[in-house]
């Protein structure tokens, strides 16, 4: 499902402060796998996720998402891949605070062809699964940390993605919320979604349902 081949990534190439963030990263994530990228913060985990998501382009190397090489895709088509196949969950959730829950969740599908009614029906189903349907019209800034996290998850699921990329999802959650997050991830795995999660939270190490651990140290696979 996701295949990286000798990915290199340097920032501000050619200038004095050129920094090599990723060196020769290659790994494979099979269909419906739950993989954890482990490593201290600043080791390039989120850069890898951004490259897989098509947000940034690698300096060298190939990236295959669902069998399609996206490294060289122009931004227009990279965004299309992101919209159709990938759901992003960010560390700081990155929600639009002035909009209410349902508006935040439906954003990814607005440029698409679906009518608003279908989108809202789908959003309500997801909110129901995550049991925050009662907060449908509440402004996001009024929601608690856990609820915001669930809204972020709902937004990632709205376009029925094949892949979920989560970047430090439990970084600013307390233990109880992290456990409930893991519970949600397990349900997603049953639904056949491939999950790639980057985190340095020890909580994930003892998880049984994790198929594969990849350790990243200073931009290299250990």
């Amino acid at each position: 499902m996701i295949k990286l081949e000798s990915i290199y990534k340097n920032y501000n190439i050619g200038e004095h402060n050129e920094s090599e963030v990723l060196k020769n990263i290659s790994f494979l994530v099979k269909e419906n796998d739950f993989t954890i990228l482990r490593g201290p913060s600043g080791s390039g985990k989120s850069t890898i996720l951004s490259i897989i998501g098509g947000l940034i382009k690698p300096t060298k190397g190939e990236v295959f998402v669902d069998g399609k090489s996206i490294a060289k895709l122009p931004d227009k088509f990279a965004s299309l891949v992101r919209q159709e196949k990938i759901g992003f969950i960010f560390q700081k959730f990155n929600l639009i605070h002035e909009l209410n829950t349902i508006d935040n969740i439906t954003i990814p599908l607005l440029p698409g062809k679906l009518s608003r009614l279908e989108i809202e029906k789908r959003a309500e189903e997801i909110l129901d699964d995550l049991s925050i349907l009662n907060k449908k019209n509440v402004l996001v800034k009024k929601l608690s940390g856990g609820e915001q996290q669930r809204v972020a998850i709902a937004r990632a699921l709205i376009n029925r993605p094949k892949i979920i990329l989560a970047d430090e999802p439990t970084a600013n959650l307390d233990k109880k919320l992290s456990l409930s997050f893991i519970q949600i991830i397990k349900e997603l795995k049953q639904k056949g979604i491939t999950i790639l999660l980057a985190s340095h939270d020890p909580l994930f190490s003892e998880l049984k349902c994790v198929d594969n651990f990849i350790d990243i140290q200073h931009g290299e696979i250990k």
């Binding site: 989120s46 951004s50 998501g53 947000l55 940034i56 931004d75 227009k76 965004s79 299309l80 992101r82 919209q83 159709e84 990938i86 992003f88 960010f90 990155n94 929600l95 639009i96 002035e98 909009l99 508006d103 954003i107 990814p108 607005l110 440029p111 608003r116 989108i119 937004r155 376009n159």
Partner: protein, 392 residues
Amino acid sequence: MNFKLVDFTLKSLKRNMTKKLSVIFIFTVLVFLLVSVFSISSSIKKELLISVDSLPELIVQKMSGGRQTLIPVERAFEIASIPGVNNAYDRVWGYYFFENVNVNFTILGLDFDLETYKKKYDNIIEMNSDIIDTSNTPFMIAGKGVVEIFNSYYNPNYFDFIKGNGKRMRTNIAGSFSDESALETNDVILMPIQNVRELFDIEEHLATDIVVRVPNPEEIDVVKQKIQFMYPDCRLVSRQDIEASYQNVFDYKSGLFLSLLIAAFVAFFILIYDKTSGLSLEDKREIGILKAVGWQVENILQIKFIEGAIISLFSFSFGTGLALFYVYTLQAPLLRNLFTGASYLKPEFDLLPIVDLQVLSLIFILTVPIYIMATIIPSWRAAIIDADEVMH
């Protein structure tokens, strides 16, 4: 037309309304100014143009040394004999300067056989005919402004003109023009011809100018050439010339006004450019989120364009609505003096409520593209923000 994007744009407009309000305000004030100035000038132009076809087709004036002099009356008979001219009559008229108020009255001589005038112009002249029948002293029909001045300065029912030789000529006020034609006749005084000749001591065989009536418009140029050929010292002013000069002067004035406004358009462009490109961190973050969840650059350009279109259409129609109300209902209280100049006689007149769609489309084509052009580069710069930097 993706209405979901329109909906998203409208909601984002509502969210950062305070920032957008300044842009809308600037745009509306500019449109308000433009529409009101152009509407006033087009309604005054309309006022002139409606009365142009009752002007004489040709006016013959004798010139010497670049100044107009009196024209021999018998020339009128020769001109009348030209085929195509149905009648040509001489006119005696001039200006009378009234020092106390520093005003010039236009005194026009008419051969007043009352019956033809009474029925022809009764609705524009309020005659009190008893004065005329009884006394044979000179009488006059005066415009509204003239009558007011006589009431306040002199005497409500007569006025003593001072002739060239210093003697007084008492003239009774026999009637006045109606209010509606104030703008055209506010300073006009009609008097019998012999009284005007007496006042300006013009001999019997001379006149001020000659009016030539040519019923068939095609003939006017031919008749004009013939008269020019007959009297090389005369200057001929045709109605078509006057109409073209009305058109010219208003284009000249509004053109001048527009070219002075170019500085304002440049300022408008820069203001809009700077207002739309000043993206707060919050806006940048929002666009980053949109791109992160799968929006393409084109989608963001689309919502920026929709936002621009909504703001420009709204401001344009709001500005136009206000301007039309200001000009035609409130009669443009301040801006009007810019056009009408200083006149002691203060002709009160209403601006003709003529809304010229050509003027509105002219202003639309002027302001909206400037606004959209000013937002092209800022919206593009916003649309290509790297989602990745904004995320962390």
